[in-house]
Symmetry: D2
Subunit: 393 residues, 4 copies
């Protein structure tokens, strides 16, 4: 991320063709993908396997205005059919439950289609290795949808850390708090049914769902790897089969300690992804619920509130993501838009052979996805062992 110039994203010459798997009626995350894709103005959504239920697939596909012959009920069929079309999709967004990510991604990679995959990327580190092998074999783009680093002021924090604004990092805290699991799960919720089943969600629930975001963010902002961690899993909301809350201790590769708090059972917290990073010379604090404002706290000087926009000390890599003028608020939709812009640039570069400046993109990829899965396993291992330290290789 050593950008010092004012490069902006290269313009697109055309919109790319996007397909989607999952995300049918009632599903939330598919909407975000499509929102980001539309905002970026670099994608047309043209095909989808929105449900394995034919009626629901058709209804969803019509809502998304897909041509009827490109509304599928089976992802494998979709991969084949689309690969065979001259106007077939160029990338697929995978918005399905965790346990299906690997087979779906493999099917599309084999069809030569670029991958846009939800997190957590897979169920196990072995799955991740298999995906990495397939990626190496097929040469496709593999993007992981971590939208939060695409908030410009989160990016600004990373840039400031990298530029030494707060000196060597000495401690860092990150948290992601929600409240929707405080009460008992709705037994009819299709979304929740698989989130409480280790066979479908993996070894952790909240830790996988929101913990991977928190983990990805703190490594992103600090530029440091978490070397080891320990974790306690808890059920703090209504009784349920898997954890809704976790308290973690972190040790970064430079020896700095850290802490992570994850919960979906803290009333009044909605999407409270927050980090606080402190170094020898200052601190940086950010809250996803107020994404336009980064608090920079230099030692022995007044706090500065850096607001998204152009100029006034905003780094080029953050400016590039700011579409609206300062104060004309951007938010999570816009972050998804930025993410889909970078994905489009990467996909177009692969397909058109265009050169992308080496330091232009910071696309979360297979490596980030693999770290996220290792994070989940290390946390689960630690919690099961009573809170022992676990290395994160």
């Amino acid at each position: 991320m050593g950008l010092t110039g004012t490069e902006i994203y290269p313009k697109a010459s055309r919109r790319l063709r996007l397909g989607i798997v999952g995300g049918g009626q009632g599903a939330l995350v598919g909407q975000w993908h499509w929102t980001g894709a539309r905002l970026s103005n670099r994608w047309d959504l043209v095909a989808g396997a929105l449900s394995s239920d034919p009626e629901r697939a058709l209804a969803s596909g019509r809502e998304w205005m897909l041509a009827e012959d490109r509304i599928y009920t089976d992802y494998a069929e979709m991969a084949k059919a689309e690969a065979a079309r001259p106007d077939g999709i160029e990338a697929v967004a995978i918005c399905t439950p965790n346990w299906t990510h690997r087979p779906i991604a493999e099917a599309f990679m084999e069809a030569g289609i670029d991958i846009i995959c939800d997190k957590p990327m897979a169920m196990t580190p072995e799955d991740c290795a298999a995906l990495a092998a397939k990626r190496a074999e097929t040469g496709v783009v593999f993007a992981l949808t971590h939208p939060y680093p695409y908030h410009p002021m989160a990016r600004q924090a990373r840039e400031m850390v990298a530029a030494g604004a707060i000196g060597e990092i000495r401690q860092a805290l990150v948290e992601y708090a929600q409240d929707w699991a405080t009460e008992a799960d709705d037994p009819d919720s299709r979304s929740l049914s698989w989130r409480r089943d280790p066979a479908k969600i993996g070894r952790a629930s909240a830790t996988g769902d929101i913990g991977t975001h928190a983990f990805g963010m703190i490594e992103f902002v600090t530029g440091l790897k978490v070397a080891k961690l320990r974790a306690e899993f808890h059920v703090c909301g209504a009784p349920k089969a898997m954890e809704d809350t976790a308290f973690l201790n972190l040790a970064f590769e430079n020896g700095a300690p850290g802490a992570m708090w994850l919960t979906q059972a803290a009333p009044g917290n909605y999407c409270a992804l927050r980090f606080r990073v402190y170094g020898e010379k200052g601190g940086l604090e950010w809250d996803q619920e107020f994404p336009e404002h980064l608090r920079f706290r230099p030692l022995n000087a007044p706090e500065q509130v850096i607001v998204r926009g152009h100029g006034s000390g905003v780094a080029p890599a953050a400016e590039r993501m700011a579409l609206l003028p300062r104060g004309h608020g951007e938010s999570l939709s816009d972050a998804w838009g930025n993410l889909y812009t970078e994905i489009a640039i990467a996909v177009e570069a692969r397909r058109e052979g265009g050169a992308v400046p080496a330091d232009l993109l910071a696309l979360p990829d297979l490596e980030d996805g693999t770290r996220g899965v290792k994070f989940i396993h290390a946390a689960a291992d630690s919690s099961e062992a009573g809170g022992t330290w676990q290395a994160l290789a």
Copy 2:
């Protein structure tokens, strides 16, 4: 706005065809229109007269991925050509300087094309009357692009006022503060050249540019008309030909007093559109730079912070505009998306004959545009006369 049910916006059956006039390279407001249109997923942008300069028009049109034969340099030609095509545009977004709104709107209305017009709608009340006559004659949809009421929590405030949450309104304050006119204008700025010329911008500068937003917002939220006002225009930033600041006193139709502060020369204010409305039983406060949070201050009880989302006391008319779950921030892009959704519903209803529930839409229209122009004239009259009261018929 008497909605008490949970009606949601009707789904679109197809995307509508949109054209744009103005908004070429370097222009800001065209981007917002297109952003809103994309986010709504109800529009395809297919034609544009993005500049009268052929080279610039072509470059801009390519950037927006228009077909070359639908990149125009002349709006009148565009209106005719598009009207003649079977796949011609169904609505046009007019994003040009104020003085051109009337002729452009007239040309497209005559061609039977629905109108999406920037504010201020026109130069004079006479222009407004002419537009209204043409609108009546042609029967097109005429939407005015006031995006701020499409922030769900501004809508929530209106709903709460209408439902009596704060009782009879007794006073109201509104302000819109920016800082970009603190320093001398860039002499090379194409955007600024016409903003300091009464022949092109009309009788006021800041008062027209941001004052119409503040005026529209305070009438929208209170549900009350401003009966009269008085104004002082000032230059508080670097010397310039027209006012960058205005202080106004308001008298609402129910006798309640109010105040409005407008400035583009208050350092550190970016897009600070804020209202504070107080009634017999409580108050409501909102700030566009923190659009997700509405502060409700009931008398003799703790303040409540109402956060955009579903449930927890959010009114149906505000819920309907909330796409993301609470805390997963929405902002100005999303407000433009909501506005373009409502415009699409109105346009589709006209074209397809679909029934729109009478109370579903609250689309700013010609009447709002006319009030905005009258507001500008009354303010200019007052300021020129030394701050006398001027009726707003």
Copy 3:
């Protein structure tokens, strides 16, 4: 206020003897005086005419732990008796309704006792002139109790303006909003009975009560005199005999415009004295309900939050008032303490002949009190005349 060194307040060698008139049981403002006096550790409260009702005077005096022979029911008797004692009071705090300030102050001045007087200082400019004449004749100290400028961060704002941090001032807004007059007055309230009677409170109610604070603050912070103003008085709460709300326009001596909003009928506002001052190079914003934080908004640079404390850019004149370390909150009690410290220094200097550095004190005095009364009269004149401009000589 040209302090550039780090002078601190000179230490006291003894506590001064303080008397109080008014402020008996149930009265609020007397408590604040005594709180400030105690906090400063420079005063002993030894005498009082706390009520004209003997029983209530005695009860109040015992509560305040006065010796019984120094509990008076008549201020004139108190002035004489105390002047005759070798251990008589050295200063008197006058905490009575407005209309009594002049005769009480005159009685104590004649007795050679220093004056600490509530605002508004008197009923009319003529009263003010009479007090000034008596002050000149007797040579006593005359302090006016404006506590808000004794919040260190309000002082910091003044220092920054004086040092040019925001350049020439171009506009300034001040407001003081409360909500206690939203509902009908309690007919049994002794405090309210005189606040609605022009014969006792003077020509204005809210404008005198809280407006003088707002007016004093904005002249204090900007370092500019208000040259003229216009005003509208309104009743926005329950019906009452005098205004509970006022909207004012200001013109400062340098030509900069300003606005003032005063209300005691805005639900959810408690003691919301706020200023926003903008110059060529930046802005300063402060809110009495969050007194520890001054927002400095330099043009084209991130906002800074200056927190009360020592170092980190805090000016000496503000540092001097900060007793607790940064973050260990100070508030209105502490502001009263700072005020009573400065009063004690002035009183001790007069009595002991000690030299006070010329630029150490910024004590609000007779001149400030006179301006406050002129402000009330100009505002009332303007409102009665329909909002005409009135000069503030």
Copy 4:
């Protein structure tokens, strides 16, 4: 704390006589004691052993306006001399380094003088037991100076928890962050010299200094005991002999988990004592740097901001501590004042035999002090053992 009425603190009939040990020139904490004592208006400071250095003791004593014959250099001598005087002190405030608390308290208890002791109360649990035995033997009042629970809105939180406003507590977080230890210690600092020496400060530095406040607060607010904890000590600021940072995990007696973060090396944090407590039905959040505002987050309803003052849902036990009207800010000085008021009531009750309503006071005492010391030892034990769980009996 089962108060449901509106009892207020009983009035004092006279001021009590207070002595102080420690707190001479340059010492901070003595100022706070004396500030609180003055504000309460229930104490006269009449004697002190402000330093063992005669010159410094004299200078400090004069500054505090003590009679010269009551300025001591030796606490033992002071205890004896004051006990022998008919006007001797009734209570002593002990503001010295940790290791001296026990012998000083013992000397004054033996002299029959009531004790006001800084935290941590002593060096070891054995010291605590010895103090408890001496307390039982002498029957004196023993108050521990935890001022933060005397912020009315912290008290309000406790009352709301006790009244079931948030239901059964399911998790709780507390933190106390400062930044003064980020840089290297000043080698000339008298205050720091003993804070880095385990023989003088005890087994922990930051954990004892600020951790005891955080620990006391979280037990106070939740009404739950911490059953066990684990801790990691770190040096995150400049290298130093003892920890400046600690991360702790808590397990409350009801099984709820918790976390504590303590640091004196987080730039931009000054006195950031904050708690967040979540139950089945809601949450409560408070920040000492904004002490007037308690955030109540009921599940499925808008957040409420409860502001210190009278009425509007404030519990009697919090109202009783509120002197100024809502919005007329109170802060840490006022909290110390409240604490000294309660101490005075307890001391007066012992000396005068007055009946104190059983539920009026919530004075932190020997038991709280003992828990604080046990907390320090458990944390140190855990950290030394690599983060094992340690019971807090």
